[in-house]
Structure formats: C-alpha cells, structure tokens
C-alpha cells in the first residue's frame, strides 16, 4: 500500500488497528495527536421545592442497605470437657477422645471445640432380638465380643465402643463380675479405643460388674454406665474415683432429677469433670419431644452458669431401633433396610441438635451419618466451600 494512501485513510478514520505487520525502516516518527479535553457535563443541583416524579408504571426497585449483625449471645457458663482414654505417652493404650468444652449454643457464635462422638454398642452375648438390618453387619462376630469390637474399629472406624455386659443379668446367664472383668481385659487388649462399660440393668448386679471392670481398666478413663437413683450409685462413683474413670449419670427426662443426681455424686466426692449426663433418649415417635425439652433445658442451664448441670450429655440413641416403625417388617412402610437406620439417624440428629455430645448407636450407616454431621459442627463457618447454587433444583 502506498504510504500516502494510508495517511489519507488515517485522516478519515482517526484511529486504525493494524494486526501482524512488520515494519522495516530507518526512522519512524509517530505523531500522537493530543485530544481536546472532553467536557464533563455538570449536573445542576436540584433546587429545593422540586420533587422528582417517579412514574407509577416503572418504579425503581432496588434492594436497600440495612443494618443487621449476627445475634451472638454472651454466656456466663460453659460445658465441662470430659476425656476418655489415656495416651501412650502416659502409659495408656493410645486413643484419646474428648467431649464437651462448648462455650456457646450455636456454631455461628463460636465453633464447638470437640466434635460429637459415636460409640458402637456391642454385647457380651449374642443378641437374638437385634433386627436383621443390624444383624447383617455383625452376624459373623456376635458370638465373640472381642471380634465384634475389632470389627467396629477396623471396618467402621469406631472412635469408641460400648460393651454391654448383659449376660450378667441374674435372669439371663448371671455371669459373675470376675468373668466380665476377664472379657474387659481382652477387649482392652484387642482395640485401642476408649470404652463405655455397661451392665445389664440389674440394679443389684450392675455396681459389682462395673467395679470389677473398672479395676482391670484402671487409668483408661472409661465411662461407667451408669450411676442412677435406682442403684448404689456411690459404689459406681467410688469405682470411678479409685480407678480413674468417668461416670454416666442417668436420670429419666427430668432436668431437676439430673441436677439432683449430679449434686449427690459431686458431694460424694466425684469430680464434676468426670460426669456425663444421660437425661434419657425417647426415640422418635415415642416421646422424643420430652427428650428435646429436657436436653435443651439442661444445656441452656449449663451455659447460663449452673455448674451442677454443665456436663456433656449422652444419648442412648440405639433406643430408636426398638421403635416398631424401625424394626417391624411391614410392606406398607417400605424397605426396612433404609427405614431402620433412618429412624436411628433422625433420633440421633435431633439429640445432636439439642446438644448431645456422645451417642451410643448400633447401625453403622446411622453412625456414619451422625459422624459426618458432627464434623460440620467443628468446621469454621464458610470453611467448607459451597459450589452448588441454590436454584439448580428448579431446572433439575
């Protein structure tokens, strides 16, 4: 192209863009024309007395700025922290679990320091009454509680295990406490997780069984289940003090009763930091509303500073699978394989949201779901990235 032609063109268009060119020259002079300043129109101030007319047909609609801040409460009290297990450095078997320690009710106020813990229920003799959806996971180990405990830990990552010495019941096998203690020793050797030690529910026998097991588990900071008003709770507390364990203080759905038992245990000499409260879990559909009220009231009282009820809470969530809607074969109610764990999940989740810290449960699926939920409680807000948008369901 002739250079003059190009210059002529440039006169017409003010600006050109040239792609992929190569210029060979001795000297290139580029004159950059200076642009005259662009006048910025001044908005005349609106004189007072003149109102802007908003057309009623086309209103200007926008989202205004407003004030709001998260409604965070100040609490006078706190929830005590209770430790299970003893680290290897202190001569223990290894795994240490802590529960409690909250200073607020909700995560947005302050992230909970310890996640809720689930402990797997196992029994010292086969449980013929266990519904099939549970049995199918444990059928092969039900004859041997040691193998049962191992399976919970190895296959389902159990953080803790609850051994129920039900065969000690005088109406069942009436196993002597000595034999329970032997089993306890074997269990402690088989797995490194902390234990909850339960009896058969026989008020005369339980304190003896718990004492014998506490002795062989000395220093392992187990949870003795339980001290309650129907039995010699002092004996249970004594065993805990003597052999370095914690005590489950179990009462029936009455905050005052829980307070009363805690007071008695403490005045007997038991350190309040060794108490976990169990205010009774009524399963879904069988009075769960009573448990909701009791637990939330206890938790609020603890946070408000009542040191007789600021202990972490436990829930016998397994109760849920005893509900007929969970275990019964009934085609009208759909597949029991899903129905049963969901009944236990719903019960556990409700208790979790009322402040429960440790769950005794049976079905591995339910346990997985409760544990997954518990992890969210200790995650900082917005730490877990949210990628989905809220509206995909409309077009799904």
């Amino acid at each position: 192209m002739d250079i003059d032609e190009l210059l002529n063109l440039m006169k017409k268009v003010k600006k050109i863009k040239i792609d992929n060119i190569e210029i060979t020259a001795d000297e290139i002079i580029i004159n950059i024309p200076t642009l005259p300043p662009i006048p910025i129109p001044q908005t005349p101030p609106i004189r007072e007395g003149i109102k802007r007319i908003v057309s009623p047909v086309e209103p200007k609609i926008e989202i205004p700025e407003v004030d709001w801040s998260p409604p965070v409460e100040k609490y006078k009290g706190y929830i005590r922290e209770v430790q299970f297990g003893r680290p290897k450095s202190e001569g223990g078997r290894g795994k240490v679990i802590k529960i409690g320690g909250q200073r607020t009710l909700y995560r947005f106020e302050e992230v909970q320091p310890n996640p809720p813990v689930v402990t797997f229920d196992i029994f010292d003799m086969p449980m013929p009454g266990l519904p099939k959806p549970v049995r199918e996971y444990f059928q092969d180990v039900m004859e041997d509680p040691v193998e049962w405990a191992k399976k919970c830990v190895k296959e389902f990552n159990a953080d803790m295990v609850t051994i129920h010495h039900i065969s000690t019941d005088p109406k069942l096998k009436n196993t002597p406490p000595k034999e329970s203690a032997k089993l306890m020793e074997d269990l402690l050797q088989a797995v490194d997780v902390p234990f909850v030690i339960g009896g058969s529910g026989d008020p005369k026998k339980d304190p003896l069984v718990l004492e014998a097991c506490a002795q062989v588990a000395e220093g392992e900071k187990c949870l003795l289940a339980s001290a309650n008003l129907d039995l010699d709770y002092k004996k249970v507390a004594d065993a805990a003090m003597k052999y370095d364990h914690n005590v489950l203080s179990w009462t029936i759905m009455d905050p005052n009763m829980a307070k009363d038992l805690n007071r008695r245990l403490i005045s007997h000499g038991l350190d309040g930091n060794r108490i976990v409260m169990d205010p009774t879990t009524c399963s879904l559909g069988y009075g769960i509303e009573f448990s909701i009220n009791t637990m939330i009231r206890l938790r609020l009282a603890g946070l408000k500073g009542d040191e007789l009820v600021n202990m972490p809470m436990s829930s016998g969530t397994t109760n849920a699978i005893g509900a007929r809607e969970a275990w019964m074969v009934n085609p009208e109610w759909g597949d029991r394989r899903y129905r049963l764990p969901l009944w236990e999940i719903t019960t556990g989740l409700t208790m979790l949201l009322c402040g429960v810290d440790i769950f005794m449960m049976l079905h591995p699926l339910s346990i997985a779901v409760i544990k997954e939920f518990g992890r969210l409680l200790v995650s900082k807000p917005e730490k877990i990235k949210v990628n989905t948008d809220n509206y995909e369901w409309i077009r799904a």
Partner: protein, 490 residues
C-alpha cells in the same frame, strides 16, 4: 422469648365488663387465654363494636407473634407458615407445623404429573389416631418455558385441590401462571438477580387483586432483610425467607435459620419476622449427582439421596423451618419426617392423652384377661391397634399416668399400686370378670409387687411389646387362669 406480654397488658384493652359472651368467666380469664393463644380476639363480640376499634387494633398489634403468620392455598385448604413466639418449644409451644411440599417438574409427561399430584394429595401415614399428611405441591419450571409451566399448573389444578408453590425464577413464567392459578400460591421466588423485575411484575398483579405469598431468596441475611424492606415498601407483605440450603455444608444453612429466628424473636427484628423455607430437595439432587457420603452402605444413588434428604429435612425441622420442599416419595423416607414434625409440634401444654378407664376390646366376657396400660395416647393407640390386628379379646384398663408411656410412668411413679387400686375401684372391673388377674406390660415388671400389694390382684408380667400379646395369651392365658383358680380353691 421477646418481651413478655402479660395478661394484665391485654386485660387493659378488653371491655372489662365480664359479660361472659366469649365463654369465659371474666375478662381477666379471657385475657389469660389470649396470652396463651388458646383463644382469639374474634371470640369477644364486644370488641367488634366501633367503640372498641382502637383497642382491637392495639390488641392485634400486641398479640401478633414475632414471626408473622403467612398462608397460601385455598380458603378451605390453607397452608399456614410461621406464627411462632418462642425459640424453644418448652417455653410455650410451637404453633404451625412445618409445611411439607413435594416437587413436580413441568417437564414430566401429563400422566406423570397427574400421578404425582394425586400421590401428594392422597398420601397419609396414621399414628396415634392422627392422620399425617403432606401439605402442598411445589411445581417447578424445569423446562423454563412459560407455556409448559402453565399447562402443568392446569393439570395439577384439574386433578387435585392441593395448595401450590409456583417455583420459577423466570418472571414471565410466574406472570402467566398467576393469570390462571385458582388459589393463593406461594411464589418461589425473588432472588438478588431478578428482584427488580419480579417485584415490578408482582406490583401490577397486586393491583389486579391477585393474592400470593412471595419467597425472597438470598444467601446473605442482610440482603434478605433489605429485600423484605423493599417488598414491604411496595405493598408486598406476605413474605417467606429462603437463606439458601447448601448441601455441601448444611450447618451453614441451619446457622442462618437460627440467626433469622433469633433476630426476630429475641432481638425484635421485625424485618426478619417471617417464616423460613428450607430446600432439602437440594440435598437430594446433590447426592443424586454422585456426591454420596454413605456409599459404603448404600450404593443406589436414589436411595442414598432419599436418606440424606430426610436427614436434611429432619435437621431443619429441629431448626425452625416453617416450610420445606422435598423430592423423595418413598414411604420410609416420609415416615420419620412426618413423625418428627408431629412430635415437635405437639403442644407441651396438653399431654397427648386418652381418657383413663375401662375399654372392652373385642367382645370380652367374665373369663377374658384384664390388661393394664397407660393413658399416653401413643401407647393406647399402639396397643389397641395391635390387639385389633391380632384379634385379642380382653378388658383393657387404661391408667391415668398423666400422659406418660409405661417405662416413664413406672420411673416417674404414676404407674403404681395406688393408681391401680383407684382405677380398679372406679371401673368396677371386679363385677365384669370372675378372676383377679391383671396382665402388666413387660416394662412394668418393677412395680408388680407394689400393685399386687395395694390391689390384692395377682399380677402377671406380659410381653415388652403389645404386638406379642396375642401370641402370649394364646400360649398362656388358659394356664394362668386355671392356675389362679386352683390356688383359690386351696
């Protein structure tokens, strides 16, 4: 609770003439019932007179709950959301049970839409004498096509009379649907993106006297509050809040629900005093897309999705959701959701009880067994349901345990010898049978001695579960009766 309104505050505004036309003995008694929300101001005829108009307005203001009550649906079939006054049910009660909606996609073939709509309308799960049902249909504009949306709405309306939520972010779709909808719909929704356009359209519909409840949606509570403010300024007052349901971290959502509710109830923030909508359906589709946290146990994606969706729904029921939309329709998924809702929304002021007394089951005679249970309605209906199914014939004694179940009443001391004695005397059961044997539930074994001592009747501990009573009686009753008779002859 926000500032507590005393019965005296209410009394001051009442006519104070003790005319008893409301059915109460005095205006003060009426004030107390108003405070507990056991009656409404409409029950006072004097307040309706023009002279009391001012007082009536003041009372309405005073008594309006911190969470506004919003309804949608048909006049005779309403879904009521909100109306809550307290953070915890033990403080008073929770009022309007969480409304449960099931979605229907407008992309489905006509037959499928019809079938699903019918399913939602007909679904019922009965427990403790109460029929638990689903509340509304959430029609979603999956096609994004206004015509399809309208067509699907027509099919639903022609085949059911279920309240409807119109779910689309497409303003044109909502506009067209509003033209033909027969009920007051819930609209989902106004978002940060479509806000201006949606509100503009709704203002014009409002001018045409169209009624609707509008869901405002934002993941930011502050923005949500601003949206409420703007909506109110334009006369759109029936609002519902959606602070987003995030399946990756459901705790974020639950936190927001609590913050909104606490702002309204404990901090008196009127702009956040509206019902909250939860979307467990988000969890369903999230899992269905392959995000299955329970694949070790449940591989089938739709089953895992249903379990995780139910878990989200149940968490939301515990955290102030006033309405939820779900996708799953498996009965095993819906059962726990409906049961939990029933439990949370039972009125703690009245225990669920049946009248204590004597109930003949089947056609009992003088040789039939006497069985003693509690007046907790769940226990009663479970027991009678089982007996009916199994053909059990007996005299059923229902003890007043203040509405507590057997194990709780045994522990709490209501299921005891003294109450048993009273029950036997009041029901005159002695005149109906020629034996003195009572069968106790398995869970009542610990109080057997007490009951025998106080009543003089022989107690037999039966089964733990009432479903096994039929078999127990067939095996044992004749023997028990004969042994007892033999003892008497000695």
């Amino acid at each position: 609770m926000a500032k507590k309104i005393s019965a005296m505050d209410i009394y001051k505004l009442l006519p104070k003439i003790n005319c008893k036309k409301c059915g109460e003995s005095s205006c003060m008694a009426f004030a107390t019932k108003l405070q507990e929300r056991k009656v409404t101001i409409d029950e006072c005829p004097i307040l309706k007179s023009p002279k009391f108009e001012k007082n009536r307005k003041k009372l309405e203001e005073l008594l309006s709950p911190p969470v506004k009550e919003i309804w949608f649906g048909y006049e005779d079939k309403k879904v009521i959301l909100g109306g809550e006054e307290v953070m915890y049910r033990y403080e008073l009660t929770f009022f309007n049970p969480t409304a449960i909606g099931i979605d229907i996609s407008d992309s489905l073939p006509e037959e499928e839409i019809k079938k699903r709509a019918k399913f939602v309308e007909d679904f019922v799960f009965e427990r403790t004498g109460e029929k638990l049902k689903l509340d509304f249909i959430a029609l979603r504009n999956a096609s994004d096509d206004p015509e399809r949306f309208v067509k699907a709405l027509k099919i639903i309306q022609e085949n059911t009379n279920m309240p409807v939520a119109l779910c689309s972010l497409n303003v044109e779709s909502i506009e067209k649907a509003l033209d033909i909808v027969r009920s007051k719909p819930m609209i989902y929704g106004a978002t940060e993106k479509n806000f201006s356009e949606m509100i503009k359209m709704l203002i014009s519909k409002k001018r045409d006297k169209k009624e609707f409840a509008l869901t405002l949606s934002s993941s930011n509570i502050k923005t949500l509050k601003g949206m409420v403010k703007a909506s109110l300024e334009h006369g759109i007052e029936d609002l519902i809040l959606d602070p987003h349901t995030t399946p990756e971290n459901i705790m974020e959502t639950l936190d927001k629900f609590v913050m909104i509710r606490r702002s309204a109830i404990e901090r008196g923030d009127k702009l956040l005093g509206y019902p909250i909508l939860g979307l467990p359906i988000n969890t369903y589709f999230y899992v269905l897309k392959g995000n299955n946290p329970i694949k070790q146990f449940v591989e089938k994606l739709d089953k895992a999705a249903a379990i995780m969706e139910a878990r989200t729904a149940c968490a939301m029921l515990n955290r102030y959701a006033d309405g939820i939309i779900i996708h799953g329709t498996e009965v095993w998924e819906l059962m726990p959701i409906l049961t939990l809702r029933q439990a949370i929304y039972t009125d703690p002021r009245k225990p669920q009880t049946v009248e204590p007394g004597l109930y003949p089951i089947g056609n009992p005679d003088e040789n039939s067994p006497v069985i003693m249970t509690t007046n907790f309605s769940l226990t009663f209906y479970t027991v009678t349901g089982d007996f009916e199914k199994d053909g059990v014939v007996c005299w059923l004694l229902v003890m007043d345990t203040e509405g507590k179940a057997v194990d709780v009443a045994v522990a709490g001391g209501q299921y005891c010898g003294d109450n048993a004695k009273k029950l036997i005397e009041e029901t005159k059961i002695e005149e109906k049978v020629n034996h003195r044997i009572i069968i106790l539930p398995g869970l009542a074994a610990p109080v057997r001695g007490d009951i025998e001592e106080k009543t003089g009747w022989t107690c037999v501990v039966g089964t733990r579960d009432s479903s096994q009573v039929g078999e127990f009686l067939r095996k044992n009753w004749n023997k028990i009766l004969e042994e007892w008779k033999a003892k008497q002859e000695l």
